[in-house]
Amino acid sequence: MTVNLGSVSDRKNPTDPPVLEIDHLKVTFATDSGDVYAVNDVSLDVRAGEVLAIVGESGSGKTVTAKTILGLLPETATSGGAVLINGNNVISVSASKLRQIRGRDVAMVFQEPSTALNPVFTVGWQIAEGIRAHSGGPDGKRVSAKEAKARAIEALGKVGIPDPEQRVNYYPHQFSGGQKQRVVIAAALALNPGLIVADEPTTALDVTVQAEILGLLRDLRDIYGTSIVLITHNMGVVADLADRVVVMYRGDVVEEATSRVLFAEPKQDYTRKLLAAVPHLGRNSASEGMTQRAHQDGKVLVEARNLTIEYPGRLGSPSFKAVDGVSFTVSEGEVFGLVGESGSGKTTIGRAIAGLNRTTGGSLKVLGYEMLNLKERTFKPLRKDIGFVFQDPAASFNPQLTIGDCVAEPLIIHKNPTPAQARKRVAELLESVQLPASYAERYPHELSGGQRQRASLARALILNPKLLIADEPTSALDVSVQAKVLELFKEIQGGFGFAALFISHDLAVVDILSHWVGVLYKGKLVEQGIGSQVMGAPQHDYTKRLIASLPVPDPDEQAKRRAEHRTLLGI
């Protein structure tokens, strides 16, 4: 298979009418706290055979813009301006006209493939649904069920589902996540629309699967000339796929440029800040220049030997081994990074160390306490030495309590301080995570995501724990916020000197923080070593594949990596 590295300019013909033209789009939502301007003034166009990426952080209006293209806004929204698809203004056309445009001229690929497919129908039926919905109009003839199915098989073949004749009769649950996304793309392709709107098409997928889907989308552009509007927050994905990039911030277009120009020389401050915040594998590694494992002279705080954790199966089915014979140690002052894709067992290990999951085999010693057959009463005194930072800062605070109450909770439970002492300590902690002490009076919903995650860190650290477990602490945050939280984490870890188990699916993030990295795959620890060495010269096949799949935010470098990835997979 050839790798298309060609530049965009030769494909783009300026005299062609654009497939999609958005002109001064403005979208306003009615909410309980008044009107919210989600999109202020957005103008852009997409030409045939072009991939236009719309990037921005949460709240930038990128998804709203995408939904407007298909006329999918909720009733509470009011939109102005024009969205022209092949000469039809989506905003003002009638409902029946809009139905004709959807699917035939423009189709959508959603973020979460498992919810975009209806579980009670076969995938073939779902693909055929779109085909049949558009037949039998004033200009078209009816499509028979047989013909629709034949076209569904053809569409499945196009997106690379093996055995489409058989698989067309499968139900969604019989496909893996990546295959489901392929099916969703097949459904979008069924009527050969000129334009596909893909809203975060790979965000819910693992990196290795993401690489496949990105490859598929690229083929669509190259082979069928489909235009794609790619909505994403992931700069690596943009660098991998996009021809042109529109950067949005707070409902406005900040910058528009071809992908290569944008990454090489961003013009606007915001774009520059955004790009600088994106973690880049191999840069800024915590273990840069290390030749042997650090902190080995300290006490071993966590020691897992042949650790096995099983979840009981349903009646009749065998139990599921989430963690299978894993051995590792975490010593005082060390940051141990645990990477793996979804289902690899990384979160299960973290939760087991905190006593939230029970271990079922092997040995797991946490601060000298054997976690097999854990007794809450005897483990409780040790809890003050373990801090835990959860993934979603919005959900890990009780919405009814103030930040101060939440942060003080561990102190109140273990030390029984006077209210004044508690307040003083909370203020100290908030200060050390760089939040004003006055934030103690606020409720969690009054803080931004990054601020909440800092408060969460403050809560985990208030008792000066020896061990901190951070389970995907930055994956719910925007890149720019993530960069600051990571920096803070690094700084505080240096200051407080606690040991940490840092769990993440993002290799680049793990590399920034961890001295020692373990790679989990299907419950097994396939590789561990010094961070920079694991990332730079992976030994295990899976690690190699994982690192090769990770797109880097640099179009030229990414093109090279893509070629390497293909040779690695033997295509």
Binding site: F29, A30, T31, D32, S33, G34, D35, V36, Y37, N40, E57, S58, G59, S60, G61, A77, T78, Y249, R250, G251, K273, A354, G355, L356, K380, R383, K384, I386, F388, F390, Q391, D392, A395, S396, F397, N398, P399, L401, C406, E409, P410, I413, H414, E431, Q434, L435, P436, S438, H445, E446, S448, G449, G450, Q451, S456, R459, D478, S480, V481, K484
Partner: protein
């Protein structure tokens, strides 16, 4: 990097306590038809409550009064004259009995709902959080009570509690207790379901990781989050409580006319009158029941709709008087200001 400079709150501070009270906050949120429904419900319920509060002032006679200074009341008098809504076959003044009946209704609702809320919430929290065999037993018992026709349970409880006799307090409490027994499973189920959902929330897990005891987690973290739907169930159950009370009275397990006035009992007495064309003894207590139930149901249903942001109606964007709010308090800027 100016640390510790207080930044303006990203969202508005909590509104005043008054504005956060259940019904008032709902009223402020509502528009159009939903507000109309809520207002009608509130007016009906308000009149009902006022009548109950000022029954001694409104009613010309006592609920058990059969005579005044001028001698015994005439029986089966049509509305008009001395007796606004006429008199019953026993010689009671219909208007006075309907007015006094509202007091009984309020009393029974309050006792029944409070008892069932307390028992239901505590059982639901414990059962949902601790789980295990206790949970299974409680769920089976609740299901068993559910499986019984609720009126039958109420009748059995009325017999058990008062032995069929009824003084004022005994009768009211018997009615209230029997309604309580029927309602506990409802509260139990709602709170248990919420507790089970909340148990898996990260903030509960974070309390567990910190080492909080089960009692602390239940009382501090789950209780306040699990009981947010209670005002809604309260209003919906209050109307059901009235219907159960009326049914009990209608079947003769209610309160004797000499100890308190009760609409269901009056309806039962009026049953024989209908064939002889005496409509006023039945219509007025019946209307009182409809009035109260309608009012409470409208309030409850409106709250239900308003609690759900997907159903709640809003003014169209761009037409409201409220000033524009810039798009989501973007994190980047807030972050950099703090740093």
């Amino acid at each position: 990097m100016s640390t510790n400079s207080p930044v303006a709150a990203p969202t508005a501070r909590k509104a005043s306590l008054l504005k956060r009270l259940p019904v008032i906050s709902h009223f402020n949120k509502s528009v159009g038809l939903q507000r109309g429904m809520l207002v009608i419900g509130l007016v009906l319920t308000g009149i009902f409550l006022l009548t109950a509060a000022f029954a001694p002032l409104i009613a010309p006679y006592s609920f058990a009064q059969l005579s005044d200074a001028e001698g015994s009341f005439a029986t089966q008098q049509p509305p008009g004259g001395k007796h606004l809504w006429g008199t019953t076959v026993g010689g009671y003044d219909v208007f006075s009995r309907v007015v006094w009946g509202s007091q009984t209704a309020v009393f029974v609702i309050v006792v029944a709902v409070i008892l069932s809320i307390f028992a239901g919430v505590i059982l639901g929290l414990v059962s949902g959080y601790l789980g295990g065999w206790l949970d299974r037993i409680l769920v089976v018992v609740a299901d068993a009570i559910y499986a019984f026709p609720s009126l039958l349970v109420a009748i059995v409880m009325a017999i058990v509690i008062s032995g069929g006799q009824s003084s004022l307090l005994g009768g009211i409490l018997a009615a209230a207790f029997s309604i309580t027994v029927v309602f506990i499973p409802q509260y139990f189920r709602v709170i248990r379901a919420e507790t089970i959902r909340l148990k898996a929330e990260p903030f509960v897990e974070s309390a567990k990781v910190v080492g909080a005891s089960s009692i602390r987690i239940m009382s501090r973290h789950i209780y306040r989050n699990a009981t947010r739907t209670l005002p809604l169930i309260f209003t919906l159950n209050a109307s059901e409580a009235i219907l159960t009370l009326a049914a009990l009275g209608f079947l003769g397990f209610g309160i004797e006319p000499s100890s308190a006035s009760e609409w269901g009992f009056d309806l039962k007495q009026a049953l024989a009158d209908t064939t002889s064309g005496i409509w006023w003894t039945g219509v007025f207590p019946g209307l009182a029941i409809v009035w109260t139930v309608l009012g409470l149901t409208l309030v409850g249903e409106s709250i239900n709709d308003l609690n759900d942001p997907r159903i709640r109606g809003r003014k169209r964007a761009g037409s409201g008087k409220s000033g524009p709010v810039p798009a989501a308090p973007a994190s980047l800027e807030a972050e950099s200001r703090v740093l």
